[in-house]
Amino acid sequence: MFHGSGLFALLLMVLEWTRPGLSSPLRPICDLRVLNHFIKEAWDAEAAMRACQDACNIATNFTAPLTRVDFDDWEAMNIEEQAQEVQSGLHVLNEAISSLQASNQTDVLQSHIDASISNIASIRQVLRSLSIPEYVPPTSGGEDKEMQKVSSISELFQVHINFLRGKVHLLLANAPVCHQGVS
């Protein structure tokens, strides 16, 4: 009898643990100070890369998102369009910065690169907590969001900071979940 109840408890624990397809919902992270922290680190990375100049001049092209924001145009977009623009941009940025990890950089620059990758992942978690739609890669033949080409690490990190300050900040600051019940 004892063995029966013990097995039953163990089974419950295993089932609870391996509950498939269900993740506990994240509490909405509406505090902009979280994003501001990542933006400040992006400022530091951009300043470090700008000072790097010749040492960081890798002869390669990076695909990076467009960062330009027109407030009237942005306001005219719905939340799904805004989310798609942000999520695709983060995806592309992540790929571009991640490609630098393989390059031979100084420890200081490498730390900035690692921090930027980590922060992008954290920002995605924040967006998930706000029920922002996830990134959907374009289907074959479909048009992706307009991108740009950058030819230096310094320029890449300028795109990085501008993207976080602009589109990401606007999306988080006006997330519907954070303004529910507010007229």
């Binding site: 009237d72 300050r165 602009g166």
Partner: protein, 517 residues
């Protein structure tokens, strides 16, 4: 020549009008500030959602805005032109040319250029979101806080949708009339409580705003117009005023009824008020007992001086008053309404000033004023011995006498007369403590007046100085005919003059009389 000047003035006027129309009320001031502070040739700022760039040129006859071309480009796109406007600065021989972008791109590098006669004059690359130049905060309000040394400051943020979560404010405050001020920085919130301020002081407050530098950057806005606020008086003064007022009302409603019973043990309980019988039974024993009975009740005569005419008084009065002032500085614990501790604290100078100011402004309200101190069982002594038309009919002050008395305690003034005599207030200062119970004997006309306009009365604590000295029966009878109010009167002013009741007993009545205490 006259026509040319007239035409020119019209142009300047129209340009200024257009200037004001195109920009806001703060536009010109922003341009002026950036002309002073910004070193770039092309100076740019964002007011609401659009970027404005301008540059300055020496005023020349043929220096028209048509010669200039302003272009901007971003994201490697083709350059776009912007319409150039111009205006002449008042009081200057320079002309400002400016362009307001019709659709400003944010969060991307923007390349701007100025051409004159086809040649690049100036160029610059900037991000528009880094050059916010906001209007000052609106509706600055300064309210008195309910707590000492605090002011509540609040304002409204600039009317911008996306940037309001990314603003910081600077609050500047200074005592009115002072050039020394302090600054507090606050993020996002549009209210602030200023702490550590001087009590009962007028302060000027200003506020300005700028982006916090994370998502947005920019210049400090202009300061708001100053707003005045007044801090509350200190708690001691305020509570004292409040307590005084409350206790005054209490005294009015429930006056202390003096009772001589404790000074005459058994007089009313055993002898039913027969004083003669009481004396005959206690005469011998009282002498021996007086030392033991009254050791804790040191006789403390009270000298009452008229304040009718201070200038005509001789030095004797000043000496007496000075002695009173010196004695009043010696304070001791007393058990009463709990004001003891507060009364022990030295009053704030401004509290006294405010009381005096209130006196000056509204002297007729003195009888109901807040100056009446709880511990002062004051005696309304009318100037006229009889039929005083100004006599205040009040049950509390039945024992009125034809004198006006002024008590001064711990630097504060209490005056219970409609004759506000600030001169007497200023001269009669000092500290002293009077219990709420006063023991008086008023042998009317016992003490002859010392001089014209001067009435002197010695009010002695009952029992010791006068009651137990050898008295004739006639005097006893005279005392018995008069009302005797024997509230315990402990006037610490004269405490040191009566070290032992025994000595006092021996000194007899003469120690209670005369001005030379």
């Amino acid at each position: 020549m006259t026509k040319m000047r007239s035409d020119r003035l019209k142009i300047v006027f129209m340009l200024c009008l257009a200037f004001i129309t195109i920009g806001g009320q703060h536009f010109e001031s922003k341009v002026a500030q950036l002309l002073r502070d910004e070193t770039e040739d092309i100076k740019c700022f964002v007011e609401v959602k659009d970027l404005t760039c301008f540059w300055e040129e020496e005023e020349e006859r043929n220096n028209l805005h048509d010669q200039y071309t302003f272009t901007y480009s971003y994201e490697n796109k083709n350059k776009m032109a912007c319409v150039v406007s111009s205006l002449s600065l008042l009081g200057s021989n320079k002309t400002v040319f400016f362009c307001k972008l019709p659709k400003t791109p944010f969060f991307t590098p923007l390349d701007v250029q100025v051409f004159r006669d086809g040649r690049v004059l100036y160029s610059r690359s900037l991000n528009a979101e880094n050059f916010w130049f906001l209007d000052p905060p609106r509706n600055l309000t300064v309210m008195t806080s309910g707590k000492e040394g605090q002011l509540n400051v609040s304002w409204l943020p600039p009317l911008l949708k996306y940037i309001d979560d990314s603003l910081i404010y600077e609050v500047r405050y200074a005592v009115e009339g002072s050039n020394m001020g302090k600054v507090e920085v606050i993020k996002v919130s549009t209210m602030l409580v200023l702490l550590g301020l001087q009590p009962y002081t007028r302060y000027k407050v200003w506020v300005r705003v700028k982006p916090d530098g994370v998502a947005y950057k920019g210049y400090w806005s202009a300061w708001t117009e100053p707003v005045l606020g007044v801090t509350q008086p200190s708690g001691t003064c305020f509570l004292m005023l409040l307590e005084t007022k409350n206790l005054f009302l209490l005294k009015k409603l429930w006056p202390d009824i003096p009772s001589p019973e404790h000074k005459f043990p058994g007089l009313f309980t055993i002898y039913k008020g027969d004083f003669k019988e009481w004396m005959s039974q206690n005469n011998g024993s009282m002498w021996g007992r007086s030392v033991h009975v009254y050791t804790e009740e040191l006789p403390s005569p009270l000298e009452v001086l008229s304040e009718v005419s201070l200038t005509s008084h001789g030095t004797s009065q000043r000496e007496e008053r000075q002695a009173v002032e010196e004695d009043k500085e010696k304070e001791s614990e007393r058990s009463d309404s709990g004001l003891t501790d507060r009364w022990q604290e030295p009053p704030e100078a401004y509290c006294l000033v405010e009381q005096l100011r209130a006196l000056q402004e509204n002297p007729e309200s003195l009888s109901q004023s807040l100056l009446l101190q709880s511990h002062d069982t004051y005696v309304t002594l009318n100037q006229n011995s009889q039929g005083d038309d100004e006599r205040q009919v009040d049950d509390v002050f039945e024992e009125t006498l034809p004198l006006q008395m002024l008590f001064t305690t711990a630097g504060r003034m209490s005056l219970n007369t409609s004759h506000s005599d600030l001169g007497s207030l200023q001269q009669s200062s000092g500290s002293g403590r009077l219990s709420s119970q006063s023991s008086f004997e008023y042998p009317n006309h016992t003490w002859p007046p010392k001089g014209p306009g001067y009435a002197y009365m010695a009010v002695a604590d009952s029992g010791v100085s006068m009651d137990y000295s050898p008295m004739s029966s006639s005097r006893i009878a005279a005392l018995g005919r008069h009302r005797m109010y024997t509230n315990d009167y402990k006037n610490e002013i004269f405490l040191h003059k009566w070290p032992l009741s025994g000595q006092h007993t021996q000194s007899g009545s003469e120690s209670c009389m005369g001005p030379g205490w």
